[in-house]
Structure formats: C-alpha cells, structure tokens
Amino acid sequence: MNNEFEPKILAFVCNWCTYAGADLTGTSRIKYASNVKIVRFPCTGRIDFMLLLKAFANGSDGVIVSGCHPNDCHYTSGNFHARRRWMLFRSLLDFMGIDIRRIQFSWVSAAEGAKWADIVNETVASIRELGPYTEYRKAADFLADNEAELAKEMEVNNG
C-alpha cells in the first residue's frame, strides 16, 4: 500500500437531506476525512449518471452519491426514480468493467450527521485500499500521447 496516496472523492448530494446532514456533521463538530468535495443538487433525481463518469474522467478516485431516505424525498419521488436509475447504471458499469466499488450510494437524512461522517470515512478507507483510479483516466487522456495513440487507433481489427 502506498501511504502517499490521498484519494480524491467527489460527493453528489441532495440539498434537502444529505447536504443538511453533512452540515450537521460540521455543527456537531464530528471530524471526518477531508478527501471529499461536496456538490449540492436539488434532488438525487437530478444527479445525471454522466456526472459520475465526468468525475472519474477528471481525476476522482471515488464517488459518493447520497440523498433522502425512501419516502422522505422533498419532491415526493425523486429518490425513487434515482434508485431505479442507479440499479441499472451500476450493473451496466459492472458489465463494462468500470470499477463500481468506487461508487458509494447512500441515504443520509438531515438528522444523520454521524452517519455521513461514517460513510465518508469508510469510502475514503476503501478507496485508499483500491488505489488511484488510473484505468478510466487513461481512456480519458486519449490525446496526451498523440502519435502513439494514433498508431493504436489504426488497430481497428476486430471480431
């Protein structure tokens, strides 16, 4: 294990539950790993699956997606829709060999400051174990090594 590695984690959270929950973590003075950057959305239903892919392409080693518990959605059903989308998205990514261990989904309510700290700490620990997510970034860096990539690009054999 490389002790130098500090995972970069992006958290996509809903405004009404998890964001407020993370606020509570802070006001309750609970310490948790500082590797996470939080992006606030109106609802988990708004979290487009492409955002998760963009996070990986742009340097994230792990992603947390979190919102209101079922039946607690501010907009009644946003999280139910999101849940279906994640179920399919997660199995599609797995089928394509994208490392789904790097995506942590959770329900964290506005009252669960301690749970949020646990989720972040556990995710950071498991990503630290997994190491940096270079595979996906390599695909993203297509143009970094222009000529070598162009050579590869000609390798269009298939079956």
């Binding site: 000609m154 390798e155 269009v156």
Partner: protein, 335 residues
C-alpha cells in the same frame, strides 16, 4: 518503371527488416470475419486472404482525430504549440489494394486545394505505400467501372502482384525505389510474366462516360429522393471511404489549456450543414445523398480533376440498409 521479382519469404524478411529499422508498419490483420489495418510488430500477424479491409487506409494520413495545435493561457498570455511534424514516424503501409492506393490522390487533391494542409502533407511525405494487386473480388467491387483495375499502379509506391510462389514487384515512384534499393538483395530479376493473367476479373458495371454525361446535369432529378428513401443518415459510408475527407473542428478545452482537434465528419449527417440560425440548406436525406454522389462524381472532377471514388465498394459493404453505390450509379448511367 522497374520490374523485379520477390519471393514470399524474402518479402516477409524485407518487411521485418523495415520494421527493425524503425519504420512503423501497417498491414491487414484478420480477426473474426473482419480484416483491418493494424500497426504490426511481427509479419506473422499479416493476413492476405481478405477481399477488402473494413476500413480504408486513409487514417495513415488523415487520422480520425488529430491534434492540430494546443494552447496554454497564463496570466493573460497565450502560448501556442503548433503541430509537431517531428513526431510523425516513417511509415510503411503494406498490403493495401490498388483502389486504396488510388484513393490517396483525391485526398491529396482536397487537402491541397487551397491552403496546403501541413499535417496531411507531412504524413504523406513519410508514408510509403506497398500495394498488392487483387486476385479475388466480390459483388461489391467495381474499380473497373471507375477507370481503375485490380492491378492499377496509380498511387502506389510499389505494387506487388502475386504470381507463383512470389510476387512481381513494380517499382513505381522514387520513394518506392529507395526502399527497394536499400535492400536490393531480397529482390530478383524481372520474372517476365503477363501480369493480367494473375488478376481478379472485376466486371464493368456501368459506363463511366454515360455517368459523367448525365450526373452533372441532374441536380433537380427525382432520382435522389427515390434512391435515398431507405438511407438512415449514418456516417458509415463516409468513414470507411478511402476518399471522403469531410472533417469537423473541435475544441478539447480544460480550463486554461486545451487542444484544437480535427475529427472525421460526414456529409450524410443532418447536422453537417446546420447553420447557427437553425436553417439547414440540406434538410432532407435526399439532398445529402445527392451531395455525396455529386461531390464524388461531379464537383471533384470539375474542381480538382480527380474523381472521388475508386470503386473499392466499402460503402456498400458497410451500409446497414444496403445502399449499393454501384447499383445506384448504374441506375443513373442508364437514365
């Protein structure tokens, strides 16, 4: 033009030698039921049984996606890094067919029409084409209908024609000659054979003269609509074509730095001609199909004196709805 003989073993040894000297070698490699050009490291990978590779070899000089320049912004200053020609390796393309080799001429015409295109020309300068004549063809091949032939030397630097146990080597250009002269021990004397006997018989499907006479004056013809009804508007035909050169310019921006890219595009896409205003001069698929054929058989011959079709038949093979180009051209020629 010099004629020599090279045995199959010597040919493979010659290619190995060229590879060892640092040339990047592209050759057809089969996988499954498709064959395509691949950057090879060993001659073992080469496959010569195919009738036609799925894609043309145009990406050697006109890659799918190419970085034209990059930029960095710092404190209001912009630093440009121009296209770096020194990174382009010396390249040998082995095993293309005469229709593919001929395709580089129209490409070159397009990329030198107005401003000579630096990346294209630099890549061509470093590329040597060793073509192999066709000994077999299928129902999609129609090179003989567009003034080509399975043993056509146009565009190749060296043309090999398979004869018993080896190849007749026709050395066409200076570039080809220097590659042969460097390794003359692999070659033997002119085998004195009649090349025609070894070539595939590609039937002529339509009269080019008739086609030329008609196609330039049929902009308003109802035939375009009728032919293009089943066209789905994808870009498969353009992307496998050895002469299609439509491209798009894109920005790969990352904050204060980025790349300007050139990538393949196709006139069959509805967005290709879409204006910012929302107006689209080629709104219907029939107009785009007309553009494709007129561009190849009317505009290009008129403006750059070279036809935009070599009869390789790839577009017909690639089309999901069997838009068979030779069949459509035959129909036009017979109007």
């Amino acid at each position: 033009m010099e004629r020599k003989y090279i045995s199959h073993n010597s040919l493979m040894n010659w290619l190995t030698q060229l590879n060892n000297e640092g040339n990047q070698i592209y050759a057809p490699v089969a996988k499954g039921n498709k064959t395509d050009y691949k950057h090879i490291t060993s001659v073992e990978e080469i496959s010569m049984d195919h009738i036609q590779t799925t894609q043309s070899a145009k990406a050697v000089a006109f890659p799918r996606t190419e970085k034209l320049f990059s930029y960095t912004k710092k404190n209001g200053d912009v630093t440009l890094q121009n296209f770096d020609t020194t990174t382009i390796p010396e390249t040998v393309v082995f095993g293309i067919h005469p229709c593919d080799a001929a395709g580089f001429k129209p490409l070159s015409g397009i990329f030198n029409w107005d401003t000579p295109d630096l990346p294209f020309n630099e890549r061509m300068k470093r590329t040597t084409l060793i073509a192999v004549s066709c000994t077999q063809c299928d129902e999609f091949c129609f090179c003989t209908s567009v003034n080509g032939s399975p043993g056509n030397t146009t565009g190749s630097d060296i043309l090999l024609t398979p004869i018993k146990d080896g190849y007749l080597a026709e050395i066409i250009t200076e570039k080809g000659k220097s590659l042969v002269d460097k390794h003359s021990s692999f070659f033997e004397a002119d085998p004195n054979v009649n090349k025609e006997e070894y070539l595939a018989q590609v039937p002529v499907q339509f009269s080019l003269e008739e086609l030329n006479k008609k196609i330039s004056n049929m902009f308003e013809s109802p035939v375009w609509k009728q032919q293009s009804e089943r066209c789905l508007g994808c870009g498969a035909c353009a992307y496998v074509c050895p002469t299609c050169a439509c491209f798009d310019i894109q920005e790969d921006a990352h904050g204060s730095s980025g790349n300007r890219l050139r990538c393949w595009d196709a006139c069959g896409f509805s967005l290709f001609t879409m204006h910012t205003s929302g107006h689209n001069p080629r709104e219907m698929q029939s107009q785009r199909w007309r553009q494709r054929l007129l561009h190849k058989f009317s505009y290009m011959p008129e403006r750059i004196s070279v036809r935009g079709c070599t009869g390789c038949g790839r577009c017909s093979r690639a089309c999901p709805v069997d838009m068979n180009i030779a069949e459509h051209l035959t129909e036009i020629a017979a109007l």
